[in-house]
Each structure stands twice: as structure tokens, then as C-alpha cells.
């Protein structure tokens, strides 16, 4: 579109605010977390490829999702645990898109105003998704909340806390749980090609005895969206697992938008005093207990899963070690690009062709993606901020860095003053991959389904919690003694180990008085 802007001043002001806020946090995350490197995977090359795929495809794919379900409806379901919220929500989706945009600007292939309507739409989608997902803590990001992430409602937290089995260093449950979390984390790094995308931590939540609870999520574990898990993950019985972890003598002072935590003193396995295990996906009513019938059953379940993850890790590693560089590039890029693919699953519109192919517009750039150029370009894009588009007037002082730089370029307001722009990069173009064809098998809580069946069941699924969508924590505070609140809590407590039918007036003191057995 040239000369007849459809975007309003208010839209641009808000979008540029979100971009700037995002700039500040992305820079902080990139320089304070850690460098991601691998001798196995060409990580910077696949990251750059994923950014371009995100730029060209996300706007169309998100519009497709919203043709069925709004971003805020998806955020509501994610808050209830279907599926586990991913770091997609906090950072990845807009982060990857904006990095692709910034790189294209620096190659002269894009002006800051081009695809302006895509940028406005994507940031607005992200804002609505984040606000609904984070509704209980009232923030858009963990960063805005001082690096804290309190997603879950009281009724779910009460079940997690009361369900948890107590444990201590050296006992069978403690050993089995810590072994399981180590092997699940390692498997997760391998599944997601050296990224943290299949791992997420949320919380902390304060417990009555002064302890804290962190909720650990392990995602994309079974045969599902990633073609490289066909066969090797056939034995993995759950696609997502959740471990509420009760911790003593340890304050989690930081949970960032990449899902990592830091604590004082440093978290160690010895600090774990209680654990539980659950699964969830777009077809479950909240979190479904796994092996929670007894302490012994939970211990055995952790041990079994630990063994399964170790075997799957060895099988997957051998498969990956036999890949070509292009296959590694595709798998890594699609893992990154697919950070928000679960949005399509929740809406029941997931298509392999949408999320597991490299768009031909991004594919063009592959010859540039040698290790050195990719390393240097990535470093300049996310850490050094030394590409021309990053530079500002010498008066400027960037948050965290103080230099005259900025990571993401805003949309120029001049488009409201006659400066032409092209609204969108266009629809999804054909794509391709060097990876083997994906088997039509998707591990769900209702068994292994074809994708068509999976999508159908999701679209037919109407979780009971949708009925309570607007019964928020403030309403609950003043209405806990009403039949409606009681019904909502009893529904949540149906699978609870100790607080079945306790209802909505159950308090922290009563919960703390329960024996931790």
C-alpha cells in the first residue's frame, strides 16, 4: 500500500512501545544468559535460517490460527495448562520474527516500513496472548514482573502442593526424580537441536512453610511434530511432562523469559523436598497425574521414564550423527521456527506443511550460512549491536548497555505522512526440507493419532475450564463461598490425591497442615 495508511497513530505508538520493550529485554537476555554453541550442530547458521522463516511465515500462520481461535483464548487455555506454556509466549515468537526483519533491513532487502501491517499484527497477537497467559500476575512478560512468572491459579497450585510426595537426598524417590530430570533435560536439549526450547520453568510460588515451588515443563518428548522423533521416540508415552518441584532453603530470584531460573543460594538437587508428575496436551482437562497413585508408583515411573529417555537419547543421537549439515540446519531452524507451533495445535489447525518446511523465500539464503558468517552476523544482531540499523544518534543511551544502539528498528511514523509502505510480505510460499518425510503419527493423551484425527479431536474439544474462563482470582477472593466457586474448585480437585472435594474455601494453613507423605 502506498500513500493511504490503514494503520493508525495509536497502533504505531503501541507497536513501537512493544518493540522497544522487547529490544531492552532481548539484549539483556542475550548478553547475560550464555552463548549457545555446539560442535555437533551448526547453531548460528540454523538460527539465522529460522529467523528468515519466521519473518516470511509467522504473520500468515498466526492469522490462520486466529481464524479459528483468538490469541487471548489460546492464552487462557495455556494458563490452564493445555498445552504447557512455552517460551514461545514470552520471547521466541516475536524475537525470531524481529531478528529476521532486522537482518533483512541490514541486507538492504527491506525498509523499516515494509511489512508494517505484519509487524503491527504480530506484536498485537503477542501482546494479547501474553496478557491472557500471564493474567494471574498481570504482566506481559516475566521481565516486566521483575523476572517472575506466576501463571497458575490458586486451585491448580493447591493440587500441585498437596499432591507432591515429600522426599530428601538419598531416598529412592529423590534419587529417581533427580535422575529423571537430568535425563529428560538432556533428551530435551538433543530433541531441540541444542536449544532450550523443549524446557521451561515457571514460578516461583511461595509455599506456607517458606519453601518455594518451581514448575518444570518438558515438552515435545514423543513422536509428534518433529520428523526426527519418528521411531526413536516411539516408546516415549507422553509428549509433555510437568514436574512441580518443592524446594527448601532456596529463593528463586529470577525466572526469565527463556524459562531459565537463578536462585540464592544456588539450587542443588539436595534442596528438593517434594515432587509430583503430570502430563497435559491440547486434549486434556488441565494436568493429568502420572504415576501419582503412591510414592512407590511415582518412584518407579520416574525410573522407567529415565530409562526410556536414555535409550531414546542414544537412538536419536546416532540418527543425528548420521545427518548431513543441511539436515542439521533444517532440524535446528525448524525447531526454532516451530517455537510457537503449539498455537496451531491448540486451535486444531496444525499442518506439517506450515510448520516443518523451510519457506522458499528463506531457503534462498542457505549458501550464505557458513559457520563464520553466521557466528559473526548472529553476534552482531543479538549481542554487539554493531550492524548499521542498530546505530542511533550519539545522544542515545540504550538500557543495559548505555551505547547509542537499539536492537529492533521501529516502524517509522512517517508512513502516516505519505511515506509509502508495503503492508505484508505475502502468504506462505511453498517450502521444502532435506529431512525424511514425517510419519503420520502424533503422540497425544488420547493415544497415537493421525494429524487429521488430532486436529479434529482438538476442534471438538471443549474443556470444562472454558466455562470458568472469566472467574478470575479477584472474583474468587470475594466469592469463594459461592456454589459456583465451589464447583470450579471441586472440578479442579477431582484427580487430587488429598484435597478431593475440599472446595473453594480451602486455605494455605489447612494445606500446610497436610502430612507431606
Amino acid at each position: 500500500m502506498v500513500g493511504a495508511p490503514r494503520l493508525s497513530y495509536a497502533q504505531l505508538l503501541e507497536t513501537n512501545n512493544l518493540l522497544q520493550t522487547f529490544t531492552d529485554e532481548t539484549y539483556w537476555l542475550c548478553v547475560t544468559r550464555t552463548v549457545q554453541e555446539s560442535k555437533l550442530f551448526p547453531v548460528p547458521p540454523y538460527m539465522l535460517l529460522s529467523y528468515l522463516n519466521a519473518f516470511y511465515r509467522y504473520p500468515s500462520l498466526l492469522r490462520k490460527v486466529e481464524s479459528v481461535m483468538t490469541a487471548e483464548e489460546i492464552g487462557d487455555r495455556a494458563r490452564e495448562g493445555r498445552p504447557p506454556g512455552k517460551s514461545a509466549m514470552g520471547w521466541g515468537m516475536p524475537g525470531f520474527y524481529l531478528l529476521g526483519r532486522e537482518w533483512l533491513i541490514n541486507m538492504g532487502l527491506l525498509r523499516p516500513q515494509d511489512a508494517a501491517e505484519d509487524v503491527v499484527y504480530l506484536m498485537d497477537f503477542w501482546k494479547r496472548l501474553q496478557l491472557s497467559w500471564h493474567r494471574n500476575d498481570g504482566h506481559i512478560t516475566n521481565k516486566e514482573f521483575g523476572h517472575r512468572c506466576q501463571i497458575l491459579p490458586e486451585r491448580r497450585l493447591q493440587v500441585f502442593e498437596s499432591d507432591a510426595y515429600g522426599c530428601e537426598t538419598g531416598d529412592p524417590l529423590h534419587s529417581a526424580a533427580t535422575q529423571f530430570m537430568a535425563s529428560a533435560a538432556q533428551y530435551g536439549f538433543l530433541v531441540s537441536c541444542e536449544s532450550r526450547i523443549s524446557l521451561l520453568n515457571t514460578g516461583p510460588y511461595k509455599l506456607a512453610d517458606g519453601n518455594e515451588m518451581i514448575v518444570r515443563e518438558f515438552m515435545d518428548l514423543g513422536e509428534g511434530d518433529f520428523p526426527w522423533l519418528d521411531d526413536v521416540a516411539a516408546d516415549i508415552p507422553y509428549n509433555n511432562l510437568t514436574v512441580p518441584m518443592l524446594v527448601k532453603d532456596c529463593h528463586f530470584y529470577l525466572v526469565d523469559d527463556w524459562g531459565s531460573f537463578e536462585s540464592e543460594p544456588e539450587f542443588r538437587a539436595e534442596s528438593i523436598v517434594g515432587v509430583g508428575l503430570y502430563t497435559s496436551d491440547p486434549l486434556t482437562e488441565g494436568h493429568v497425574p502420572v504415576g501419582m497413585e503412591s510414592r512407590e508408583a511415582l518412584t518407579e515411573t520416574f525410573r522407567t521414564l529415565d530409562g526410556l529417555f536414555k535409550e531414546a537419547t542414544a537412538r536419536l543421537w546416532k540418527r543425528i550423527a548420521g545427518w548431513s549439515r543441511d539436515q542439521m540446519l533444517d532440524a535446528g531452524a525448524l525447531t526454532y521456527f516451530g517455537i510457537c507451533k503449539d498455537l496451531a495445535h491448540v486451535a486444531g489447525v496444525y499442518a506439517h506443511e506450515d510448520w516443518m518446511l523451510i519457506d522458499e523465500r528463506a531457503e534462498r539464503f542457505r549458501p550464505l550460512l557458513n559457520d563464520e558468517f553466521s557466528r559473526d552476523c548472529l553476534g552482531e544482531l543479538v549481542g554487539l549491536l554493531t550492524l548499521p540499523s542498530h546505530r542511533l544518534s550519539s545522544y542515545s543511551m540504550m538500557q543495559h548497555g548505555n551505547g547509542p544502539t537499539r536492537m529492533y528498528t521501529p516502524i517509522p511514523y512517517a508512513i502516516l505522512d505519505g511515506e509509502g509502505y508495503v503492508p505484508t510480505c505475502g502468504p506462505v510460499y511453498p517450502g521444502a526440507t532435506t529431512l525424511p518425510a514425517k510419519a503420520d503419527r502424533y503422540r497425544t493423551s488420547q493415544g497415537v493419532l493421525t494429524l487429521e484425527e488430532y486436529n479434529l479431536r482438538v476442534r471438538d474439544f471443549a474443556p470444562q475450564s472454558d466455562r470458568y474462563r472469566f472467574l478470575d482470582e479477584t472474583w474468587l477472593k470475594y466469592n469463594h463461598d459461592t456454589p459456583r466457586a465451589d464447583k470450579m474448585y471441586r472440578h479442579e480437585q477431582e484427580r487430587a490425591r488429598k484435597i478431593q472435594d475440599c472446595g473453594a474455601s480451602l486455605g494455605a494453613a489447612e494445606l500446610a497442615a497436610l502430612p507431606r507423605d
Binding site: T34, K39, G108, R111, E194, D371, L387
Partner: protein, 250 residues
């Protein structure tokens, strides 16, 4: 020739990295040429004509010119240099088949043997304090072929793995079997640091070592304090020692 929007940038000039600048400059030249040749304005070019007119073949040509000029790339993933040895600098010591090869860090401390027969040969950031120092045998683990050998033959008992990759995937199927890990990169927050803590395996990250040959006996000062987030934020050195056991106690 066509002028690009980014050609009149008041504050920005060029990329910091010569390689990035070489590629980006060549791409901008390409875009100017193709825009001229297309005969259309930018609005018709950016999301339409350019998709057909800026191609993979163009980018291959840009890359070829850099290689023809004699440039060879640094590698990060071993597969990159294995598949295109002509495009990358050689990868020395990567296969672990030279018993005399040593990894050398210019800032690694070294010293003569002390009264206990220990010669200082490096330092690292301790991921997790344990009650005692860790003693074992040095084995370099730097490639998937080496990992495959260990998968087949087993990891030798007491292996202290020396790894120059702070990721968690290269050594994924054998990591749990290491007695200790010395990693040449990353921080205690890197994936390898996270996993070693989860498994309870003594580990130094960001290590600086010198003169350690395959099969030599080592002691890691794992009873030293773990490096804290505060130390990283303040840029403070907080390292633990690595010694070669010149004369091991019986």
C-alpha cells in the same frame, strides 16, 4: 544505479565483522542491480519481484568470490569442515588420534610440581562444589566420531573429558559416564554446565588449560567454591585449579 533506503543512514555505516560486511555489501550491490534490471519501483520489488530476482545462485556467487579471494572460514560444527574442507580452516586435533596434541589456551597458568606431585596446568569455573577434589584420566572428546567410539567401546572408567563445546548435545549419550568434565568454553549456565549439575558430575566451564596430553592423570579442584552469578556479573575471576599428577600418591 538504484539507491537503497538504507544507503542514506545518518548513524550507521558498516558491520563490525569483515566477513559480515563483505557479504552484506555484496548483497546490497546485488539488490541495487536487480532493482535496476527489474524496471519496477521498490513497492513492487520488495515482496514480489525480489523473490524471483534475488536467488540462491546469486548468494552462491557472492560466497564463491570470497573463497576465490583466499578467505577460509572458521568452523564451529565439525560437520561443516568435514563436508567442505576446501572452504574452512583445518580442524586440528579434532579426531583425538594424535597422542601428543594438546589444547593450549594463551592465558592458562602453569607451574612446577608441588610437594604433592601436582603441576598446575589450568583453571576453570567450578559448576558445583563437592566434598573432595576429582582425580581421573584426561580424554579429549571433540567430535561425534569420538563419541561413537565411546558408545561402542565404553567410556574408560575415571574419564575426565576435555571438551571444547559447551553445548549439551555432542556428548549426550555418554555424558553421564564421565567422572569429571573440563570444558573450554561457556559459563556455569551453559547447557553442559546445567546438565553436569543435574547429573551431579564435577565440571569446570570456561577452562584455560595447557600441556595436557591424552591419557594423563589430572586432579580438578572441585572442592573449591562454585562460581556465582554475582561473580559473572561483576566480571570477577573465581576459578578452581587443574593439576597434572606428575607423581601420584600411592
Amino acid at each position: 544505479m538504484a539507491k537503497l533506503y538504507v544507503d542514506s543512514d545518518k548513524y550507521g555505516d558498516q558491520a563490525h565483522s569483515p566477513t559480515v560486511e563483505a557479504f552484506h555489501s555484496a548483497i546490497k550491490d546485488l539488490v541495487r542491480r536487480r532493482l535496476d534490471e527489474s524496471g519496477v519501483d521498490w513497492n513492487s520489488f520488495v515482496f514480489d519481484k525480489s523473490y524471483d530476482l534475488i536467488t540462491a545462485a546469486d548468494f552462491e556467487e557472492i560466497e564463491r568470490k570470497l573463497l576465490d579471494a583466499g578467505h577460509r572460514y572458521d568452523f564451529s560444527a565439525v560437520i561443516s569442515v568435514n563436508e567442505r574442507p576446501e572452504a574452512y580452516k583445518p580442524a586440528e586435533g579434532i579426531l583425538g588420534d594424535d597422542p601428543d596434541w594438546t589444547m593450549e589456551h594463551p592465558d592458562a597458568p602453569s607451574g612446577d610440581a608441588d610437594a604433592e606431585g601436582r603441576a598446575l596446568c589450568g583453571v576453570g569455573d567450578n559448576v558445583m562444589r563437592v566434598s573432595e577434589n576429582t582425580v581421573g584420566t584426561a580424554h579429549y572428546v571433540r567430535s561425534s566420531s569420538q563419541v561413537m567410539r565411546y558408545l561402542g567401546d565404553g567410556v574408560p572408567p575415571g574419564t575426565i573429558a576435555i571438551i571444547d563445546d559447551s553445548g549439551g548435545t555432542l556428548t549426550a549419550p555418554i555424558l553421564e559416564r564421565f567422572a569429571g568434565i573440563i570444558c573450554m568454553g561457556g559459563t556455569v549456565r551453559s547447557h553442559l554446565g546445567i546438565l553436569s549439575r543435574e547429573y551431579g558430575i564435577p565440571c569446570f566451564m570456561n577452562a584455560k588449560i595447557t600441556g595436557i596430553r591424552e591419557g594423563e592423570r589430572l586432579e580438578m579442584e572441585t572442592a573449591a567454591a562454585a562460581k556465582t552469578a554475582e561473580a559473572y556479573q561483576k566480571g570477577e575471576e573465581m576459578t578452581a585449579n587443574i593439576w597434572k599428577l606428575v607423581q601420584e600418591a600411592p
